[in-house]
Subunit: 356 residues, 2 copies
């Protein structure tokens, strides 16, 4: 439906783009990967958790995703054995590194939402478990206040403490897993492969005379096809209440209605990376793609936060007030899911504007 | 802000509208009141609960509201002692008659929402208490299903049964109160006053030469002033998440943020009745007013349903799964509140269109 709005990223220059552009892009990303890895080690690595270390891990994931995505989109131009072997290793690495950050961000999102919903700032701040067992809101609430039975602010504070405990534990485990991964021989093998890539990209013999535009166009087609299959008409009607349908169903699996949106998020990313390969250093920012991608990130984050709230509500022996607060929180985050779909629809129907 | 969009209901004809129009309107509404009352008695009255009886009670309330509203707006044209004495009695009557219907509608709305949220139709239908203690969804769920601990569908079913029990009890009490009211000497005094009104409206001596348009315009001004004070810019941004702010605060009172909207709902009604007085039988339907009024009714209904869900969650000794479902339900209805505000904003900014 949005086909006519799409800018032509497959024609960045007057003529075809050769495999040399791909080699240059991969070399640059591999160099960036090695630089981030070095910085990560120098700043204390995963054991440190300092801002520089977190930033280095983020940059590492960023380049790993770009290498992996480009290997996928431009498969025909690369040595198939090598690239087929490389992709799952890069996916393993960026997945392992991403998890710790994801749990931290999820907790932050949920505590922020609880604060907003309570109209207070007395909930435990994200604390790595320090506030566990001490419902800070009751202790530090401004002024004395008669608390009725089943007081919901206590519920919100308890829900916050429960989520803090569960997600901090998950984060700690993810942290250990990341540490282990970075010390593993599997990781060293990936790093070695990337080091080779930084100096010599294993292109096929015909790659330098092959036009990159058809595989890039195919990546874009996969994106537009997937978007065309999304329920965008519904998403464009505010307050359609779709995201919370089945919000109380017995199924504990992630909502199946989210999957096509998650898929579009991945395809959008591949399309963006393909544009970067074609345009090289000069790649203009496409604000429409940027806004659409941000909406899909928000969609994913809210969906996972909603799921974490529902999962916490299944903890045995929690108080009804805690469960109530988690129910409100779950619905709030599913509402965020719906809002993100609306934002995506709005971003996508907008004309492409380029700010070079 | 919407001043320029307002149609001129204060100028329905070329010239002024005299107090005779008010007298005619009040006589017609009083006659309608007496007709509904007769029909209500003939169809078995409040004890019956048949469709005709419910319809008669609705018509009775409808005319009582119109009489009361007109007495208010056109105060200066009426005998002050008489109209000051009449209004609280009419408000008492329509309030008493409205309550039973309101509880029934609230239960229907909440069970409908629970069904939607569960993605099932296995919840107890509104049953006047029959399903109490028998969570129908567990018994009649299609096919055998392994239920994990804290299963949320069971929570939804239990929440439905709890709401059914509480709101059916409230409805039964309201029903008894309405029966008592209709048999009281207080009611007979109101009915007698309305019977007098049907033949002889107590206008002031100067009323027949007084223009109705200034008091009608004042009613409209009160409406537009109140609307101008609403946060319509926020309401016009979908998914602003305003309605759920303080959704978990300890305050059990109705949300203060709702009050200005409820006030606009009442002022919109007074404006509509004033238009009816001015235009008489020929009163054209103003679709904008109609849509705005429907949005505000939805706002009120959703706000009260959200409040009922929160209130049910404070029932002692409920299961966490029940509380969780009530939390989801509360948030869902607060989203409905937000959606209704958006709908009002959309309706109000539209140009007035008249279909005579």
């Amino acid at each position: 439906m949005a086909q006519q709005h799409l800018d032509p990223p497959t024609d960045p220059t007057a003529g075809p783009v050769s495999g040399d552009a791909l080699a240059g892009y991969l070399r640059a990303q591999a160099t960036e990967f090695l630089r981030s890895l070095r910085q990560h080690r120098e700043t204390g690595g995963a054991a440190n958790g300092s801002e520089e270390s977190v930033e280095a891990a983020r940059a590492l994931r960023r380049s790993a995703r770009r290498i992996s995505g480009s290997l996928h989109t431009f498969r025909p131009l690369l040595d198939p054995d090598w690239s087929e072997g490389m992709r799952p290793e890069l996916a393993w690495l960026s997945g392992t590194l991403a998890r710790e950050h994801a749990y931290a961000a999820r907790l932050e999102r949920l505590l922020g939402a609880l604060n907003r919903l309570s109209g207070s700032s007395a909930l435990p701040a994200q604390s790595g478990g320090k506030a566990v067992g001490q419902p800070a809101a009751t202790a530090s609430a401004p002024g004395p206040r008669t608390q009725p039975a089943g007081n919901l602010t206590v519920g919100a504070a308890k829900a916050g403490a429960l989520l803090d405990r569960q997600l901090t534990l998950a984060r700690t485990r993810a942290h250990s897993a990341a540490l282990q991964a970075l010390g593993s021989s599997r990781f060293h093998a990936v790093a070695d492969s990337v080091a080779v890539l930084a100096s010599e990209v294993p292109l096929t013999p015909t790659a330098t005379s092959t036009d990159l535009r058809p595989p890039a166009a195919a990546a874009e087609d996969r994106l537009t096809d997937a978007i065309a299959a999304l329920p965008l008409v519904t998403a464009g009607h505010p307050y359609n209440a779709e995201a919370l349908v089945h919000g109380l169903s017995a199924d504990t699996a992630p909502q199946p209605q989210d999957a096509p949106w998650h898929q579009v998020r991945l395809l959008l990313r591949l399309h963006r990376y393909a544009r970067e390969v074609l345009y090289g250093e000069e790649c203009p920012i496409d604000v429409r793609l940027l806004a659409a991608g941000q909406a899909l990130n928000r969609h994913r984050d809210a969906a996972e936060a909603a799921s974490a709230a529902a999962s916490a509500a299944r903890t045995p022996r929690i108080a009804p007030a805690t469960a109530y607060a988690l129910g409100v929180l779950h619905a709030d985050q599913r509402h965020e899911v719906e809002a993100a779909r609306f934002a995506f629809q709005q971003a996508w129907q907008r004309e492409a504007v380029r700010t070079p």
